[in-house]
């Protein structure tokens, strides 16, 4: 647990990596099916290995925060409404 030196209460554990990725997806604008991105594109934005990315995306998809669709034979990912709410809860 990390401590908040300004207000004195515990800030809880660090942000899980997959949630950090979810935030990245949200902040780069992959928030609707027409704005969905390929693994390669996400990897470049997130500076993350494809294999790691794939496992995080799978977890986020299972949790309902990310949805994938196949466009012209390519998997593309975007953040769902629940995913958007999850991200916004961090900043609000």
């Amino acid at each position: 647990m990390c401590s908040n030196s300004s207000t004195g209460f515990s800030r809880g554990p660090a942000l899980p990596e997959e949630i950090h990725l979810l935030c990245t997806l949200h902040n780069i604008g992959a928030t609707a099916s027409e704005k969905s991105l390929t693994l390669q594109q996400i990897s470049e934005w997130a500076t993350m290995e494809i294999s790691t990315l794939r496992s995080y995306l799978q977890k986020l998809t299972e949790l309902g925060y990310v949805q994938f669709n196949k466009a012209e034979g390519v998997d593309k990912y975007h953040v769902t409404i629940n995913g958007i709410r999850k991200v916004l809860s961090i900043y609000s």
Binding site: T7, F9, G12, N27, I84, L88
Partner: protein, 386 residues
């Protein structure tokens, strides 16, 4: 008056209390004869323009992104600014009202190019929410300070927030007005079949429903309620716990719930639509608000409006909204034993619990209706447009 209201969340883009606050205030201002234009961010499935209860709502798409949150926020401000500039050609606004730092850059630009005053409502601060410990948090803190510096008047929802920002941003006391959050009591007038709602969540008629509603983030203190579960169930084995909301701390909280060995008594529902939250709140035996940092704590008002006894941490705005043992029960923040005591205080004495809810309802009708809040806000507007 023609009011330009800026907020990054507006229904159905609901994250915390800001969306509900902006909706309630905009609607009440419209009903009292003002023209309110809300400029906000887009949300899947919503139109880019619509009128909601007379409020004109413009949703702006952000065409550029960036992984860094602060950079992203500054980018969306650019697109909002374009929308506001276009709109300003058609509507001669009297002022701009900014809600929190997220839309402050648009508000400051508006003030300078229209020479119209800016009012900012500070709902919470980065300093209070999570402390200053990263470059981003220092940037956010800086933007928050900057918005209060540029504003003609600053509105906060509680005395504790006034103290916090006057100290932290070195603001003169007279620049800051306290106007509490409001509540739409009509939402709680619909009849709810308590037993049917409870059974949907697996709560039997003989069981006690202990409810907690809030984002799953550290400042909401939900971990302390979970740690209180074994103590509460020792005295009230019929108690069941429902936690409504989502947030990045969810996995951690589920782990804490597991460690209590009472995981089966605790249900995490995730995010629920507003109507369902109202139904569930109305059906609860007690609402716990275990926050560690809470500038206002609208969820406590919602509990009181729903006629449910509330047990709240004695922190921030919550300490001002509740009168201990008169309209609710105070407990110590971050103290599971104290939370358990507070829940017991309500569950052990149904007569006293009912008395608390009656007092609470009377108090919120007098003080926290949106009509009252809108009237106070208009006084601030009138002062700055003079």
């Amino acid at each position: 008056m023609k009011i330009c209201m800026l907020t990054w969340e507006f229904p159905p883009r609901i994250v915390g209390g800001i969306a509900r606050h902006c909706y309630g205030l905009a609607k009440a201002l419209t009903h009292s004869g003002h023209e309110v234009h809300v400029i906000t961010l887009d949300f899947p499935g919503t139109p880019s323009y619509e009128e909601v209860d007379g409020v004109k709502v413009y949703r702006t798409a952000t065409e550029l992104g960036h992984p860094n949150f602060v950079t992203w926020a500054l980018l969306f401000n650019h697109f909002m600014e374009k929308r506001v500039a276009d709109l300003n050609q058609l509507v001669s606004f009297d002022l701009v009202h900014v809600h929190d730092w997220l839309t402050a850059p648009v508000g400051v630009s508006f003030k300078h190019y229209t020479k119209k005053p800016m009012v900012v409502t500070v709902h919470s601060t980065e300093y209070g929410r999570s402390g200053l410990h990263t470059p981003e948090s220092y940037s956010i803190d800086g933007i928050e300070w900057w918005s209060t510096y540029e504003a003609s008047k600053v509105i906060v929802t509680s005395s504790s927030m006034k103290r916090e920002i006057c100290e932290h941003f070195r603001l003169p006391q007279e620049k800051v007005e306290i106007i509490p959050n409001g509540i739409d009591l009509t939402r709680y007038w619909a009849s709810v079949d308590r037993w049917s709602v409870r059974s949907r969540y697996g709560v039997q008629p003989n069981e006690k429903l202990v409810l907690c509603v809030g984002r799953l983030v550290p400042q909401k203190g939900i971990e302390h309620l979970i740690r209180a579960v074994p103590i509460i169930t020792r005295h009230y084995p019929e108690a069941k716990f429902i936690i409504v909301g989502d947030g990045w701390l969810k996995d951690h909280l589920e782990g804490v719930a597991q460690s209590t060995r009472h995981r089966w008594k605790i249900k995490f529902t995730g995010f629920l639509p507003d109507q369902e939250v109202v139904a569930l709140t109305t059906s609860a035996d007690v609402l716990v608000v275990p926050s560690v940092y809470e500038p206002f704590g609208i969820v406590a008002l919602e509990g009181m409006a729903a006629g449910v006894p509330v047990v709240v941490s004695q922190v921030g705005g919550l300490a001002e909204v509740i009168a201990h043992d008169r309209t609710g029960v105070f407990v110590y923040p971050e103290k599971p034993e104290s939370i358990a005591w507070g829940v017991g205080r309500v569950l052990s004495d149904p007569g006293h619990a009912m008395w608390l809810t009656q007092n609470a309802r009377e108090m919120i009708q007098k003080t926290y209706s949106w009509e009252t809040i809108a009237m106070k806000t208009v006084k601030v507007y009138e002062e700055v447009v003079r």
